[in-house]
Symmetry: C2
């Protein structure tokens, strides 16, 4: 009987794993250098944890089950509920700002498609306990710091910012009812994936009058500083909107001071689907052929309170290994995947095999990677194995090792070879070979 | 509404996470230096993958569910079926020996108890495609290499070896029927956790005659080389047993050559519960108060064929973060968990805050970890924050930075301070401070 990986999931053969580990190492490095510490939670949570935040309709998108005690459980589809739950417990004890990151494995019971699998890894970065725009700006900086580190410039990727305050003030100004707003949010969120006609058609389904449609048509695709000024002027009567516009300007100024302003601009098209955002929202976009969000987030100042914690400001973003691998691949920024091996230890005669084991074990104990042939065979065949494994150096244990106490070491890259005292070699295995 | 982590699972707050990452880094380091490459599979698999190997009774111990297409799925309770499935696909294409490791998150729907949680991480190490005892010995060496690396000597931990061939030959010699053998295996497996009386009671439940009980009583607790000789002598008519005894001796000799013989001995008490082992079996035991297996494995030469792959020899072991943390804690081998920070950047005046952001971003770009205060406040308070974060160095941006282009750097550990050109500092942030 032969089995395959379940639909929408991936097997990570060693080559795939090198790539996944490389991406996650960049997440680690960037998080740590920005002063974040790592956390994690269980792979499954109480089903109610997701219901509280997203309602019953979320259940269909989850892999859920009951344990023997009849508790409803679900494999985590996102990390923020877990984060909010954990923060709710310790929020008062932790020094602020709380700067946490995570690299969760997540599962969603959705139809697999390009860039969307049923199982994937996310990088989650959150700053909790700070309400000022410094936190929003630092959060966005971290995402851009990653892009810079992996070699993506403003030519390859941009970060679009908006504020939920501006969007809701605009919908209020257009007198769009609360009942219609969620449908309009959803339409705006899809705006940049649709043609003008398709966007019109989507709006037509929401029962809007001509004046309402005109306002949306006028401002829905506003972007950059001019567009922001136009909206601020149109909404100048609304203190909520004015504050929202000022917040976006302050975040952009801070990102300039961080030296990454060139990646960023205002864009009214960024709305973010999730219900819990309350302020600044942002998305990173690949500028190549993929034309897709490759990460995003925003401010969610009420979620932790909803999870039983204190009232505390929070901002964060997420991105996934799947979309990032596509993006990096498009711009040829994936690393080469050669495995390296420090030493391959060869016997010149089967009688000295025990010394091969001794030398190998000693090298490993000193932190070097070292292997040997499982087959007792000729030196030439063993050298071939060493080359196939990309060994940097080959150690040859000669048949007369017991009397000479000497071994030969060959530097494979430079084709240099030397005969060394065994003990001196083991004391300093990477010594220069003349 | 307040939520907790589900029963039997753990939240990893940053301190817990440092510990988990440290353990997993040892797994990585030891695997790589022994010439293994990493793989992984999905967190859930076809339910049938586990049924094929372990029968329907396994289903109760799994967290299982169906997707919208009605497929039965289960969160993985162990890694070997996934490994066997993946190897079955590529076995013919991969050069031998295949030396793979993994660090899977696993879940089991069992009653949580000390050292056993519903969710945990395992280190899986397997060598596939080599039938000789070299593979068994190298596999065991890897487990001991880990123990050595984390500071555990033969005083703290030992590895007990046996062979399934010896056990089954002994049960055959005692004329214990196939039907009774699995109950006897289970009893032997629990032997070292039970008093002599409790073991007797367990055997009494299996309908054995006096002669059968005597044979078990005589050999069940045989250990070390003498015990092995006694069993070999008793079973000298059985070629299977003789081969099994020779295999155990060869593995012990190879482990001597590897330099770790001091950790290892034969022990008839090691049986291993899992049905799929076919040859050498082994367990690592903590010698302290815990008296518990902290890792184990063996040879399973038929499993990959059962999963639709070729007939191919395989040997492997697993251990978990939970038991290893207990073991390391008992012998005080856990690392201290101080987070370190390279730089904390302070403004001497709020007017130079933008320079603080510029300096911080530049340090991060050079790979240094660097943070700053979100609050504009006095230098003394910012220094307190820097100390609370264990910053190695503090950078002070003075109010006159625009005219001087100089900053002050303080080495916190050595209480040394210097004034440096900003550009020279950024070009070499870790330069010696006199």
């Amino acid at each position: 009987m032969q089995f395959k990986a379940p639909k929408g999931t991936r097997d990570f053969f060693p080559d795939d794993m090198v790539l996944r580990r490389w991406i996650m190492k960049q997440w680690d490095d960037v998080s740590l250098r920005n002063g974040f510490v790592e956390y994690d939670g269980p792979i499954f949570e109480d089903l109610d944890l997701y219901r509280v935040k997203s309602g019953d309709e979320i259940v269909d998108q989850l892999f859920h089950f009951t344990d023997r005690g009849g508790r409803g459980l679900a494999i985590r589809p996102e990390m923020t509920p877990t984060l909010a739950r954990m923060i709710a417990v310790r929020a008062n004890a932790l020094p602020k700002p709380i700067k946490w990151y995570s690299q969760p494995r997540l599962c969603r019971a959705e139809r697999p498609q390009r860039g969307r699998l049923r199982e994937f890894f996310q990088w989650n970065v959150d700053i909790i306990g700070e309400s000022s725009e410094i936190a929003d700006a630092e959060c966005i900086f971290v995402l851009i710091d990653f892009m810079r580190k992996v070699g993506l410039s403003p030519e390859h990727v941009e970060v679009k910012l908006n504020s939920r305050a501006i969007v809701s003030a605009l919908l209020d100004a257009a007198q769009i009812s609360i009942q219609q707003q969620s449908a309009v949010y959803a339409a705006l969120d899809k705006r940049d994936k649709l043609s003008a006609e398709a966007f019109e058609a989507l709006l037509a389904k929401i029962d809007l009058n001509t004046s309402q449609k005109n306002i949306l048509a006028q401002f829905a695709d506003a972007c950059d500083a001019d567009g922001l000024d136009r909206i601020a002027e149109f909404l100048r009567e609304s203190s909520v909107a004015t504050e929202g516009c000022d917040a976006v300007r302050r975040v952009l100024d801070l990102l300039d001071a961080f030296g990454v302003g060139g990646y960023c601009r205002f864009d009214m098209g960024v709305v973010r689907g999730l219900a819990y955002y309350t302020g600044i929202v942002f998305e990173a976009f690949g500028k190549g052929g993929l034309k897709r969000a490759v990460g995003g987030g925003g401010r969610y100042d009420r979620l932790i309170e909803d999870m039983g914690g204190p009232t505390i400001g929070a901002v964060g973003f997420a991105t996934s290994d799947v979309v990032l691998a596509d993006l990096l691949n498009e711009f040829d920024r994936l690393p080469s995947q050669e495995c390296e091996l420090d030493f391959f230890v060869i016997d010149a005669d089967p009688s000295v095999f025990e010394t091969v084991l001794h030398v190998t074990a000693s090298l490993r104990e000193r932190g070097m990677s070292a292997v040997f042939s499982y087959q007792r065979q000729g030196v030439g065949k063993q050298f071939k194995q060493a080359a196939a494994k990309n060994a940097n150096r080959v150690v040859i244990v000669e048949a007369d090792i017991a009397s000479t106490r000497k071994i030969s070491v060959k530097d494979m890259a430079h084709s240099k070879q030397a005969t060394l005292e065994l003990d001196a070699f083991l004391a300093d295995p990477m010594q220069q070979i003349e």
